[in-house]
């Protein structure tokens, strides 16, 4: 009773949490609820009148975020403490988004979204840590797509709830286990689409800080394209969908192999082309006149010399012939001009030698007393003689 008195004296408090159980049978006076801290493993029993639940503007369901006003009381019958709620307010979507926004601003101010903190993903991860719901579409998407791209891919899958009050603690411990695993090179957080409340665990402050603190690169693949929980911002890489995450963490082995094969073909082709081109060039050079017939140049010059020699001989002979003809003509004219023809017939020209002068033609016997030196010119030359006497 003393305990009950102390607890009674605590007065009324505001408590926030997530409803995990609602037990309100029709006709009963009291509804039994369980309120849970979304980040920590703590719960509290709550009692209230059923009318209180009915009056709520937003239908209260299990998993809903609520703020309660009430008074703690000790139920002596079972020895448990419970909160007698006098007011329940559902935390609405707008309120949730506003909170996420406030948390986003806080984390951003702390620098948790800084691009410099982002760790690069390995090209070929040894083991991929996957945190997702058991048998979910997200799990199937990631595994199928990853296997299709790279058949040898290895996964370490941690199954956790991905919504509701137990999600965050389970994800936190899974994250811790995978981060500690040396073989895990990248961790994927995958969850399909859902309402803002469903995706709430992924905007949880504790989870965001854990993601930021983890040393293994983390890919956040939550919901569909337009969904953007805070885990997307603190993760090292944001994938729009789980399928997208699989594509990001695993290279497309077939595409890579095709690329390598293509590159190999291209290099080989390039080399073959190069060789062919060089061979063609060489062939062309080979067929150049100089190389095709090395003596052609010499032959050509030889012919030239021969031509010149021939021309020279021809010229000198022609010149000789020309001069021959010229002299022949001159001699012929000389013959007609001179007395040669007459001399040839047997006549002679007799000249008297004059001392100190040119010989003079002898025209009279008076000019040639005996002893006179004379010169007798006949056809083929001249003789000298002396006059012996006059003949009468």
């Amino acid at each position: 009773m003393k305990v009950a008195g102390w607890i009674d004296r605590l007065g009324s408090v505001w408590v926030e949490g997530q409803l995990t159980q609602i037990n309100a049978r029709p006709g009963t006076r009291t509804a039994f609820l369980v309120l849970r801290d979304p980040s920590a493993d703590m719960s509290l029993s709550v009692t209230c009148s059923p009318q209180l639940l009915d009056r709520s503007p937003v239908p209260l369901t299990e998993g809903a975020r609520v703020i309660l006003y009430g008074k703690l009381s000790f139920y002596t019958g079972r020895g448990t403490v419970s909160l007698r709620a006098t007011d329940i307010r559902a935390v609405g979507v707008g309120e949730l988004l506003a909170r996420i926004e406030r948390l986003r601003a806080l984390l951003a101010a702390e620098g948790l979204f800084d691009p410099r903190l982002k760790r690069p993903l390995p090209f070929l991860p040894r083991t991929i840590g996957l945190i997702t719901a058991r048998a979910s579409a997200a799990e199937r998407d990631v595994l199928t797509v990853a296997h299709r791209r790279w058949p040898a891919v290895r996964f370490a899958v941690e199954h956790t709830p991905v919504q509701g009050p137990t999600a965050v603690p389970a994800i936190l411990s899974a994250l811790e286990r995978l981060d500690a695993d040396e073989g895990v090179d990248v961790i994927v957080l995958a969850r399909g689409g859902g309402s803002v409340e469903d995706l709430l665990p992924f905007s949880d402050e504790a989870l965001c800080r854990a993601i930021s603190k983890a040393t293994t690169p983390i890919v956040s693949a939550i919901g569909h394209e337009p969904d953007s929980p805070l885990s997307d911002h603190v993760a090292d890489l944001r994938a729009a969908t789980p399928t997208d995450a699989a594509k990001l963490v695993v290279p497309d082995a077939v595409a890579e192999r095709n690329l390598v094969a293509d590159l190999r073909l291209r290099t080989a082709a390039a080399l073959r082309n190069w060789v062919a081109r060089e061979a063609r060039g060489l062939e062309m050079i080979r067929h150049r006149p100089v190389l095709a017939d090395p003596v052609a140049g010499i032959d050509q010059r030889g012919e030239e010399i021969e031509r010149l020699v021939d021309a020279g001989r021809r010229d000198v002979l022609r010149e000789l012939a020309k001069q021959d003809t010229l002299v022949l003509h001159l001699r012929a004219r000389l013959q007609t001009l001179g007395p040669a023809a007459t001399l040839a017939r047997g006549y002679a020209v007799v000249q008297r030698m004059v001392a100190g002068g040119d010989p003079e033609v002898l025209r009279s016997v008076e000019d040639a007393p005996p002893g006179t030196q004379i010169r007798v010119r006949v056809a083929d030359g001249a003789v000298t003689a002396a006059v012996m006497g006059k003949v009468r």
Partner: protein, 72 residues
């Protein structure tokens, strides 16, 4: 007319003088003695020219024969 001994004259000089001799004789107007002397010199010049030409021809033919022998 120059008095250079014909036997010492080169071909061109002998030929040129021969041409002159012929020209002068063709013009006429010389007395017999002069024309006779001129004519005789012309004959010598012509002979000299023929000797030169014969010598030249001989040299060419000798040279060609020499080359032909080396070629064969």
């Amino acid at each position: 007319m120059t008095d250079t001994p014909v036997s010492e004259m080169g071909y061109e000089a002998a030929r040129d003088e021969l041409v002159d001799v012929v020209k002068v004789l063709e013009q006429g107007g010389l007395d017999l003695d002069a024309s006779l002397a001129l004519w005789e010199r012309g004959e010598l010049l012509a002979t000299r020219c023929e000797e030169h030409l014969a010598g030249a021809r001989k040299r060419v033919e000798n040279a060609l024969a020499h080359i032909a022998k080396e070629d064969s």
